[in-house]
């Protein structure tokens, strides 16, 4: 399987010289490196632990024209990820042990990156009856994260019970915070731009009111709550308040919400149509601050592939979503490191260490000796242009096409095996 090798001439995320010894798929100290180790030149690249995505739409089963576990895995490792979390809004929905095991096994059999299925909180993501979360946890897929992503668990009682129920197996409820009554038919952030464009608005309060409610519920029941894709300044303030108060909560933000604003909708190009929507400059700045000061624990892609015809149309008819696996590190670096808010090592913590801990993804998130050798070599000096033909995802709905981005992923390793190189 994995070779024994010694990577020389590397830097660690803080820029210090580094050598990595890998034997039996794990990191070991250089002095204990196996005598038969092949010596490989790292060319001065920066080694980071393999990135971990808590929010990926792989579309299989059911929508294989948009993405499959295989194409999504290839896109993931090209973006430096060694673990991704498959959202359950497939067809059939991943609300039973059977479906999560199917997705999990596809990941194993491809052997490109680790695919951890997320289970639905409620049956059919309908928000009414709890799905058999225990069975999904006990299955081969060992599901720990549950989400109705795409839909909000908006019934307060169901949300309370879900939070309580998963305590039995250290589960976490990942909430898509969106009051459905306030967003029926909504197309974009509600504000100056939506007023001018005549597109139905999506108020920040629809997101923030659910976050606030769930924080209070979790203060009461003491479970693990994770807030998906935060988009508003108010949401950041709520999480900050909750953490100060000692409420157990983690939060994520997507790379696109750290870089793009609702002003882009003026083009009426649905490549900018996404759920939750792009917000204002003020929100973007607050989200960046939130990541920098640790209020936001995780950057997650919300990689949402859609076939061309679902975006090559008028705005209202288009699907919501942006692909992001292959650009996540570069876009986050641009928003947070180039802007001077964070160091690369802290960004890597948000994209690898923290998500691995939340998902309990053992073997991921660290370059520590003894850990599984899941890592990525990146060139922090390289710039690259996002081109349609280079995208490995089956879908090309990226808002960054033609854009120049920093940081190029050169090689990705899963348990010591090279799964991507360029």
């Amino acid at each position: 399987m994995s070779r024994n090798f010694l990577l020389k001439n590397l830097k660690d995320p803080s820029g210090r010289p580094l050598e990595l010894a890998i034997a039996n798929s794990r990191f070991m100290t250089v002095k204990d490196a196996a005598p038969d180790s092949e010596i490989i030149d790292g060319n001065g690249l920066t080694a980071i632990p393999g990135l971990v995505d808590l929010h990926t739409h792989l579309r299989e089963p059911g929508k294989e024209d948009a993405e499959t576990v295989l194409s999504g895995s290839r896109a993931a490792v090209a973006g430096g990820f060694t673990a991704i979390s498959a959202m359950p809004n497939t067809n059939p929905i991943a609300d039973t042990a059977g479906v999560v095991e199917q997705v999990f096994r596809l990941g194993i059999s491809h052997g490109i990156c680790d695919v951890f299925p997320i289970g639905a909180v409620t049956l059919g993501q309908q928000g009414k009856i709890l799905s058999e979360m225990g069975a999904m946890h006990s299955s081969e897929a060992k599901v720990r994260i549950f989400s109705d992503d795409g839909h909000c668990v908006w019934d307060s009682l169901v949300m309370r019970r879900a939070l309580e129920y998963v305590k039995a197996f250290d589960g976490v409820i990942a909430q898509h915070a969106e009051d459905p009554r306030l967003t029926h038919g909504s197309q974009m952030n509600e504000g100056e731009v939506s007023a001018a464009l005549g597109l139905k608005g999506w108020p920040a309060a629809a997101e923030e009111s659910i976050i606030a409610r769930d924080l209070l519920l979790n203060e009461h029941v003491g479970s693990r709550l994770h807030i998906c894709h935060l988009t508003t300044a108010g949401g950041v303030e709520l999480i900050r308040w909750a953490k100060n108060r000692g409420i157990q909560v983690t939060a994520e933000v997507t790379p696109h919400h750290l870089l793009l604003t609702d002003d882009l909708a003026r083009s009426y190009d649905p490549v900018y149509k996404v759920n939750p929507p792009l917000r204002t400059e003020r929100d973007v700045m607050a989200l960046r601050e939130g990541v920098a000061d640790g209020t936001i624990d995780v950057i997650a892609t919300d990689h949402a592939p859609h076939p061309a015809e679902d975006k090559d149309c008028e705005w209202a008819a288009a699907a919501f979503g942006i692909i992001g696996l292959e650009t996540a590190l570069s876009v986050s670096y641009k928003a947070l490191v180039e802007s001077g808010l964070m160091k690369l090592e802290d960004l890597v913590e948000r994209m690898s260490g923290a998500p691995a801990r939340i998902g309990r993804y053992e073997g991921h998130g660290s370059l520590a000796i003894g850990n599984e050798a899941n890592f990525t070599l990146v060139d922090t000096a390289a710039n690259w242009r996002v081109e349609t033909l280079e995208i490995r995802s089956k879908s090309k709905n990226s808002p960054y096409l033609g854009l120049e981005l920093p940081v190029k992923v050169r090689r990705t390793y899963l348990r010591g095996k090279e799964v991507f190189s360029q």
């Binding site: 509600e190 007023a195 015809e309 149309c313 008028e314 705005w315």
Partner: protein, 309 residues
């Protein structure tokens, strides 16, 4: 002038006035016994309507025919969101048929922009109403009508006080009118229940009032907007009766308007809801003029977009 007419925002003040002046000249043609000019002979204009709107379609059709263009009416049943032919495929079809200009009415905001900005077709695109976004030729015909009545038929609308009353939130007529009236120097006051105004309405540079009864005599123009009866199901207002009482133009309010004030409505009207019959039929009403002027203004738009080649 641009190749397309998608939004009033794309027109400069000079272009808007020039279009109104052109419309005034063309209006004279429509008053002669032979109402026809050869300007667009041999050109094909498609009326692409994804929404039923007989009045706007026949207005464009009359305008194009009076300029001697060949007119094809293309009505697509059902909304864009139903699984019919996509906007893209429709556009490719029109391109294959050699349309020089497409007049599009569509329930999705931005549909005309998409048609013009994608490389699906090469003809000029005229926005005849896109969702709740804009309806530029309606605003132009409204400005034309105001100018005819209050401004000696020339120049801009400097100094006029215009009230736009009703469902501003869902109105493409209001969006285009706010942009054009302000461009032409008029002062715009929006009067509506707070639920029917966009939350960011303060970015529009208009006065905003929730009360239709104060300072009624200060307006030179009162423009009523159509309100859809279904709106109360989404809790925008409690009942038709309450809406009519608080925001309808009734006889009592009509009596308070100043002597030169004109009353406008883009049609179709809900008599008894946003406008009472006696207001609609009063001598202050220029609603029928609006319809007539629509043809001249649309002739001018087609002429300026397509005639110069």
């Amino acid at each position: 002038m641009n190749r397309h007419l998608l939004s009033i925002a794309d027109l400069s003040k000079e272009e808007a006035i020039s279009l109104l002046d052109t419309a005034a000249e063309l209006a004279r043609v429509t008053e002669t016994p032979v109402k026809k000019l050869p300007t667009l002979r041999g050109r094909t204009i498609v009326n692409l309507f994804f929404e039923d709107s007989t009045r706007t379609r026949i207005s464009f059709e009359a305008a194009a025919k009076r300029l001697s263009a060949d007119v094809i009416n293309f009505s697509v049943k059902g909304s864009s969101l139903s699984k019919g032919e996509s906007l893209k495929d429709t556009a490719l079809t029109l391109q294959a048929m050699g349309a020089d200009g497409v007049v599009i009415r569509h329930p999705a905001s931005g549909a005309a922009h998409r048609l013009a900005s994608q490389k699906w077709m090469s003809g000029s695109v005229i926005n005849a109403g896109d969702g709740t976004h804009e309806h530029p030729t309606q605003a132009l015909l409204d400005a034309f009508t105001i100018r005819e009545n209050l401004k000696e038929r020339s120049g801009d609308l400097m100094g006029l006080n215009v009230a736009i009353v009703g469902d501003v939130l869902h109105s493409r007529v209001a969006r285009s009118n706010v942009l054009l009236l302000q461009k032409l120097g008029a002062k715009v006051t929006l009067i509506a229940p707070p639920t029917l105004l966009p939350v960011a309405v303060n970015s529009w540079g208009c006065n905003v009032k929730y009360d239709f009864d104060s300072d009624l005599n200060s307006f030179d123009v009162v423009m009523m907007l159509r309100v859809q009866r279904e709106r109360m199901e989404d809790a925008f207002f409690p009942s038709e009766r309450e809406y009519a009482r608080r925001y309808g133009l009734n006889a009592a309010r009509l009596a308070q308007l100043n002597s030169r004030c004109i009353v406008m409505h883009p049609g179709p009207m809900n008599r008894g809801l946003e406008i009472s019959a006696d207001s609609a039929d009063s001598d202050k009403s220029v609603i029928v003029d609006q319809v007539k002027n629509g043809v001249a203004v649309r002739m001018a738009a087609l002429y300026l977009l397509l005639g110069g080649e």
